[in-house]
Subunit: 321 residues, 4 copies
């Protein structure tokens, strides 16, 4: 992809409004510069935009270093056909406490916040405002915006930079419980063209276990282990029909065009009644995947040549020289 | 445990107020009959009550068949020392739409609901009230109660039975997306006495992987597989220090006093820098665990006798007759 | 293969002379009827005949149900390039004690026997002839023949049917320690054309471990286990350069043209610095291989189609319908 | 053990006569100095001496670096109850060609040799004496001795040092095919007292698979892998009742009093219907076993303490500090 100017109709969807962490993730995408950015209210809307063609891609949060996988995203990716992840983007997550101009910390009795943000800043808020009341909001930006809209709240938890968009004042910065929190976003599209392998790639799949027989998860993991494919993420999600039945959201190190990953996916596909391939894409951290020599592409090619020589009865195929 | 009358001071904490699914779970506990039931606002408060001794036990939601593990509970159990799960309880989850008396479905423009309940009833609400606005609530009961408290909402999503506690009318029943949704609750205590094995038990642990080396999860699962111990739940949770480091919340079939489970826990403890034992307790579904004969208690005892005869040089220890 | 009449020059080698168990195995080969049968003295000569083209095939013993693998055969197959096993043949092994006409059991003071035959009949001989002396022979038939050639022995251990070839008398029948002993023979050729799969096939390979790192053998076996391929034989043989380094002689259930076997051989080839493919051929016992559905040929083909659709960007390749 | 002078009745059995490699192994045993050395004809006799009490121990060959395991020894150890290996000893194996005084290499037309020795020197003999005839002998020393006893042979293959015992001349030295061949011997006793762990030990066992189900061997190896126990030897031997049923002769690195080995043996015993413990003893090469920290004795002890604290309800047992 190149970042030539987009016609007006090219649109990217993101969880808005302007000022969210999702917008910060979208700012990292060179191809999105100059395109129309379409603010949506939730993951479902974002993916609808993609599948309907209203947007070429959508930016959605998939995992947080503190809270773990974003279940609603994982389930939406499971249930929406024909999507592909084009890339991943990391955004450090921290928060500020904002208020209407003139308000001091001592004035604050009620705080408006998205429940996740509230949880992630609870330690600071409980210490500084032990008597506060809490009003939940539908998004981090909505919490801030509500202050200008007759809310009974005196302050809101919001992303840094919120004051670029709203006439509010920052009462306190860096109020997150954990100062190193990072959220991982993915850019999702219906474009099924595979990006080229870069040597620093991830492959995302969602895999259903065939049944509840003991050892099934072990069997699934052996598909990766026997091909030297490492996982950077594994999360279970309920299939939903009954307690105790799971599918797994998995990120593998490597690209589907890497031989060892392709072979592992073949094994996975034979094992599982339902494998969803979500894409191979460059890693956000650009860390090259370490491949031990025995799982290199050449080793796979040589083995296939050896087998083909035997099965097609080429001369001298019986053994290695 | 027997259900003799409790002195007034014996207290059980639960996510309240009266009418919640958590209260429905607590109603299943014979020992709690006649005790004081203490309504709390969140899992943290419930566990605080237990560790401080204010309550003998707390009922908390740990998993839903649709939404998966309750992260906040899993993380709280990880971070609160000296807790034990005494039992598990299943509550079918469905919802009703309630309103102030006299309101009809056609009158409803704004709905108040806890975000999880909203998600689980969205399909019905979107179909019946395509133009509705949404206000988030902090709990299912709070959503209903708000209708009596000057809320701008016209209706609320609430648990069945809410009308026993509040003068509201039911506009629609069974509005959940999934009619078979079940939530699993656990009763948590600081009492570390082990319940007797019943033959239909679960054992819950939280296990940290020693490092990110490839194949670590596989190694962990082999601890169970080589002792014939099945898992009924495995969920990953971020350790939180950086992306890509996980601990696992695991439910095993069997009791720590079952030889095969004890041996698997020994293997797990040797493998992991941090294993939290959360308890062995009777399964809610009372399904007896199937143990293949080679993993029976007697097999473990015989093997130990055989080894002891060799290492202590008992006569004729060299081999089986 | 068909059993059309052979020209005089078509020759089959076997460990002779006439009357040996190896000859009995060769009699089971329809294609050998009418060809010249060339008696040789040892496995090395037999394989030399094959590689030089003097014989189209050689019959050699590879395993006995009591004594295990025939090491000298296993090592010869390892060290002779470009050989293929065309088929396997089972011969029940029992022995008679023979003597010159007129000799009675009471007359016997010295017994001539091949060392293996002597070992397999020792129990009977020790019981009946407690004072006997022993002279080793180079083959079972040579032991018998020696009686007619000025040997100081009075009796010889020989295969049943020896009296069809030599004017000797049977002093005792069925003198083997084990009455159910069976020897497995293989017909070896330099013809590398693969026989068609019959559904009841074996595949023989010799595999060197890459190094002595712990767990290497386990890794090798996982190549089979993850493809549902069962082994009917595994024997270790020293590589010979130092103590503790081994190669493995392995018989797999199935044919190299079975998808699961081919895939396992690919994994094996990637794992091992040296894999010798010795052939896929019909089992002597004609027992059809049981293949669980998940390892059927169709499952492999479907998985490849699925992967190809993704990597070549066919429409609708993202997921299963 | 100390090497104080033995009373005349203390006897060690070995495959004789004087001059064999087995005698060379016995010379390495300090405790055997000054005892009576009893020459026997085969492994069965040697083990009979031990079980009957005629000898305190017997030296027997168990493996050769070129020929592999000595099947007859492995089977005898399987079938003779109550034996223990006390130690292992390595003897370099090479051969000389000897003849009656005055014979030259050019005079030699017939060679007497034990079949194994003949096989191991065949390359040299075929090159130097392409027209030679061969007479098999029952032992390496018997081959040499026969030259003084009217044999028609002109030369014999014998161990170096044979001329210390017989008035013969060496025609050629170092005639073995492989100049680095080593035979491993074990000293076997009915004394079941365990030697102390030295840090450089081996443990020998013979293990029967429970049945022929696919993956059984893999399961057996997992018992070792999950405890970090390495194998230095694994050989299959037919159980003997039918083709395709095997037991395994296994040498493990470590001592039964090492926690990880003891735990692996427990797992093995639970897995297998028949485990024969043959002993833990110092390695001949005195190479200390490398134990990764996670399999150290302390790790096993700590895990047991942790489990015991939970199952006996010691205070603060729920988790690690």
């Amino acid at each position: 992809m190149t970042s030539t100017p987009h016609p007006d109709t090219v649109s990217y969807s993101y969880l808005g409004p302007a000022g969210t962490f999702t917008e910060a993730a979208l700012k990292q995408v060179p191809e999105a510069v100059g395109a129309r950015w379409k603010s949506v209210n939730n993951v479902g809307e974002a993916l609808d935009d993609v599948t309907s063609g209203r947007s070429v891609a959508a930016m959605i949060a998939i995992e947080n270093s503190i809270d773990g996988g974003v279940s609603v995203t994982q389930d939406a990716l499971t249930n929406t056909p024909n999507l592909r992840i084009l890339g991943e983007y990391l955004v450090p997550v921290n928060f500020v406490l904002v208020a209407r101009p003139g308000t001091t910390l001592a004035d604050v009795t009620t705080v408006n916040a998205h429940p996740v943000a509230y949880g992630q800043t609870r330690r600071w808020i409980d210490a500084q405002l032990p008597q506060h009341g809490y009003i939940p909001a539908t998004s981090n930006v909505a919490a801030a915006a509500s202050l200008l809209d007759n809310s009974i709240a005196d302050a809101a938890v919001a992303p840094p930079g919120i004051t670029e968009h709203y006439p509010l004042e920052v009462l306190a910065e860096n109020i997150a419980n954990n100062q190193n929190s990072v959220t991982r976003f993915v850019l999702v599209s219906s474009n099924t063209e595979l990006p080229e392998p870069t040597g620093a790639d991830k492959t995302s799949v969602i895999v259903e276990l065939p049944d509840n027989a003991p050892g099934r998860l072990l069997e699934m993991l052996e598909q990766f282990a026997t091909r030297g494919v490492n996982m950077s993420l594994i999360e279970s999600r309920p299939i939903g029909d009954e307690l105790g039945r799971y599918r797994f959201v998995i990120d593998l190190e490597g690209h589907i065009l890497d031989e060892r990953v392709a072979d592992a996916l073949l094994g996975l596909k034979r094992f599982s009644p339902n494998v969803i391939f979500l894409g191979s894409y460059p890693r956000a951290d650009k860390l090259a995947t370490t491949v031990t020599p025995r799982y290199g592409n050449d080793v796979f090619v040589e083995a296939r040549d050896w087998l083909r020589a035997i099965t097609t009865n080429e001369p001298s195929a019986t053994r290695e020289p």
